[in-house]
Symmetry: C2
Subunit: 326 residues, 2 copies
């Protein structure tokens, strides 16, 4: 089968770090076009555009587009892409709201094109193995610890702090996308403490209490963007049968009962594009709403707690960070 | 066809005011059982229970149950009802979270029973007529005004003020259920200001900015629980073709271009049980997530604005309200 001719819309950090190299490394894809409001160089792709609309109408051979813009504009772009007859890969979160995602799902069905909500964290090797190990089990304990330094991962990004910018749920949704993938029963948000800095409209930390309906189980998630030094992307699970699973490094490493079962380097976007190739070839869609729905549920049932203001200082040259200037 | 043998779970205000009389007035239903943690009298139904589990296992002839408890416990009860082979009618909102509702939808499909998410406000006579008048039209202006006095409609109810208690979205979701029913295109939440009293964990008012993707359209909703005196449950619509629709009194009255088209008394629960009869007879389900999804979206994209504390004073004997004691 000829490789899929794909275009990228939105050439920010994630597109440059992950989508470009992974598309280029995958023989089942040809990067035919790129659209970006930033400047583009002719090496980026055969066709380059500043306006995605020109790309959608100007490259008839384009089979699919990967939408890597901020989430606020994804719905509009994805709609137009589907209506132009292109299949669509959506970076996470797939839209600004659940209603927008539902609309895209229905539109993709109507026009008969593939739509794919990517949750990249699901593709690290330890995740699948954890899901296999937990299948058919009853989970007694789930402890998600997702603590990282926002200054390191989102330097100067302002949209994440605006209302609708998700705040700590931008990384937290990665953890939740692993949880929905590995858990043998659906999980529900029972309680949430959402910690809003006094000067921001999005939470910097969140403590979630989850449930599968199992009365004696203890399921929690702790998300925090104020973690300097060692970063934590860990999920600990204990089953009723007594097994202990430790999924760490964002899903790259898995220990079961103290024995290392998986320890590999990240393979997230490699997995994303392998899956997209399959979906395109089979003409199928995957719209996995579950992680996004849990985030909306957390905002809906969550209690707002005000915490100290957050100052978004740039990192100093030596890699340390300036103290907040309050 | 024999009438459907139905039971009520949760005998609070809405069950007593609406479900009991409407079931009794509908010849297609027989009220066979009632379960309530409050005291029950033998006249309430042939079988009465304090524990809904005893009702589910103890009345084999029961075909369906109407779940009228607060939303926090609906998911658990509905699960057990479906697993006991009963069809389920859910008061609004149908669950505490969207993930719980999705779980019920899947379970109902699996066990082959009817599940029905009731949005009672959709059944007032003007709503259908508005939907018909707007079909195929482009909406240029939508202005939802839902302003009522919380002290009058929810005297002393504490759960509505807790995180997850929905606050102003408890009535607001009624307005949104009409909006999703009448609008010829899907609507999305673009921006929301959620006004939280300083001493409460749920909003007392909300201003929403909506969109259908139509760039020049103006779609807004203003919800407020601080309205004394005249209560407002109005939806004004203007189409691109120049038609003006005024849906008022919660959907009971409709004027089109100044002419009164509908002016009837409320018929909400009459319509709910007519529909439920049909669904049960045809073995079909209706899980309409749209209004609930818009509420979750509003919480997810909404900006929290702190407003003055709310004091929940009991009404004075003469029907007026005491000034806040602050």
């Amino acid at each position: 089968m000829a490789p899929h001719a794909i275009g990228i819309i939105g050439l920010g950090k994630i597109a440059q770090d992950q989508h470009l190299p992974n598309i280029r490394a995958n023989p089942d894809f040809t990067l035919l076009a790129v659209s970006s409001q930033r400047g583009l160089s002719p090496e980026d792709a055969k066709y380059t555009f500043q306006d995605y609309r020109e790309m959608l109408s100007g490259v008839p051979d384009l089979e699919a587009v990967a939408i890597c813009t901020p989430p606020q504009v994804r719905h509009q772009i994805a709609r137009e892409a589907l209506l132009a007859g292109k299949s669509v890969l959506l970076e996470k979160p797939p839209a600004a709201t659940l209603s927008e995602l539902e609309d895209l799902k229905q539109l993709a069905e109507k026009v008969g094109k593939t739509i794919f909500t990517t949750w990249h964290a699901q593709y690290n090797k330890g995740v699948d193995e954890t899901a296999k190990a937990l299948a058919g089990q009853t989970v007694k304990l789930l402890r998600v610890t997702w603590k990282e330094d926002v200054r390191r991962w989102h330097p100067g990004q302002q949209w994440i702090w605006q209302a609708g910018g998700f705040g700590i749920f931008d990384p937290g949704i990665n953890a939740l996308s692993i949880v929905t993938r590995i858990m043998p029963q659906p999980v529900f948000i029972k309680r949430a403490d959402l910690k809003f800095p006094a000067n921001r409209d999005a939470p910097i930390a969140a403590d979630l209490e989850l449930s599968t309906g199992q009365p004696d189980a203890e399921l929690t998630a702790a998300f925090d963007w104020r973690q300097t030094g060692l970063q934590s992307w860990n999920i600990d699970v204990e089953t009723q049968a007594g097994s202990q699973l430790k999924l760490s490094q964002g899903g790259c490493r898995l220990e079961i009962d103290g024995r290392v079962v998986v320890d590999e380097k990240p393979s997230e976007y490699e997995g994303v594009y392998k899956r997209f190739d399959l979906l395109l070839s089979e003409g199928r869609s995957v719209v996995d709403v579950a992680p996004f729905r849990l985030v909306a549920d957390a905002f809906m049932v969550g209690r707002r707690v005000q915490v100290e203001p957050f100052q978004d200082d740039a990192p100093a040259r030596d890699g340390t960070y300036q103290a907040p200037s309050t």
